[in-house]
Symmetry: C2
Subunit: 244 residues, 2 copies
DNA sequence: CAGTGGTCTAGACCACTCG
DNA sequence: GAGTGGTCTAGACCACTGG
């Protein structure tokens, strides 16, 4: 067995992808039992530990299920729980995933002293100013999300130019400043559109919106960005896989 | 090193808990580097593979972070992202986690033919009836969640007695029928209270609510329960860790 | 009972980071 | 170069499941 090229990636990953291929091309179908770990390892010419590492990844991805004493099985098709809210994507991507063409209008950018409520949310040194971005995001030209972004690195201000913000702020941070957002702690809040929001999003007052308040962190757990995104509830579905 | 009792649980789990204890009692503090895997394995008198299995669990739980070529570090305190919405808990537990004493009022139970919209959500054989449970859940006596549960195993009807439903439906299913719910696919929907909901939850009309529509599955991916839970937005915080 | 996945060992080499 | 975590091997025994 060649896996597949003799190229550099770890063996267990190549094994994993090989098995993944067998699942995708229906050599193994949902519900089928895989050969035992011993025999599979032998067939593939790798140690059992290496095979198990590959299987572990497949199990994490939900593609196989193990049952001690019985065997390892190809998972049944489950209801799509990809693209759940637990996967961090930009608003731009969220709009794209919903099948629309993303756009931006009504950009405002300013340095502000944070209000008290904001001060509490974004821990800053006293008196510090904050870079605030206000945008209305559109899907196929229709306003669907109202976005407020707060960056404490206010020195970035002079580096920014308006044209940067037609798309994903994540991309701007990544490409221009090499800041990579790794995860966000999000709070999910149902709200009603007030007068301002109803104008921004072209909806009636009291229209139900989903507010996503998100603290974005980089790989070293530094808080980079605090954002408040108001989504029109009729345009987006927010799903999540909840596990025990 | 004894871990700790010579009792039956796997060695790597005992190692994991031992290390967990060292973290909790501040022997290792956030940011500290652990000894290298080789030296730690030697100190503990286990193989490196076993130690790595313990570390792997700790890493999954976010308690340590590894950096190749550098070392393994105790995680910084992150904003609590335990108890996020990605962890499936019953409404009862949700109320308890929010610091309240859970209760139940206004229980109704009936067999119904599903409406068309419900029919679409719960795939059933034609003409089949569904067991519907309606409950208002209270926190410290105040109504906070309106719950509709739909069970397609309508034969369970005669088995149920009213007293079962003061608490978690999960527990009833587990204890009485040995049905174990493993995961749920949830949709998060912001809604406004209509007249009926405003009465049930003792709030004004148009009060913002979070509707959680959940399809519950057992370990074998069989859909057991479809539930609709309307949460008062002022009583609960829904958080989620979003990762790239 | 035989066969499965789960745990564990001892040892080896590789890939990455730092000084 | 020295030290770290990442990968890999060969072999062993245990715990659980089914017939």
């Amino acid at each position: 067995m060649e896996f597949i090229n003799n190229d550099s990636r770890p063996l267990y990953l190549r094994i994993k992808e090989y098995l993944e291929g067998l699942i995708e091309n229906q050599t193994y179908k949902p519900g089928d039992r895989l050969p035992s770990e011993n025999s599979l390892a032998n067939e593939l010419g790798v140690s059992r530990a290496t095979l198990r590492e590959a299987l572990r990844v497949l199990e994490e991805e939900g593609k196989i299920v193990k049952h001690q004493g019985i065997g390892t099985f190809i998972s049944e098709q489950k209801p799509t729980f990809l693209r759940g809210i637990e996967e961090l994507v930009s608003v731009t991507e969220t709009i794209e995933n919903a099948g629309y063409k993303p756009g931006t209008t009504g950009l405002k950018m300013k340095l502000v002293k944070p209000s008290e409520s904001l001060q509490a949310k974004v821990k800053l040194s006293e008196g510090e100013e904050i870079l605030q971005l206000e945008r209305i995001r559109t899907a196929n030209g229709l306003p669907v999300v109202y976005c407020l972004d707060h960056l404490n690195n206010s020195y970035l201000y002079k580096e920014f130019s308006q044209e940067d913000f037609s798309g994903s702020l994540f991309n701007v941070l990544q490409n221009k400043f090499n800041i990579s957002i790794k995860y966000a702690l999000a709070q999910i809040i149902p709200v009603n559109a007030d007068r301002a929001l109803s104008k921004h999003l072209d909806i009636s007052e009291n229209f139900p919106l989903l507010l996503l308040e998100q603290y974005h962190y980089d790989r070293k757990d530094r808080m980079i960005l605090f954002s408040q995104n108001y989504f029109r509830s009729d345009q987006f579905q927010f799903k999540v896989l909840r596990q025990r």
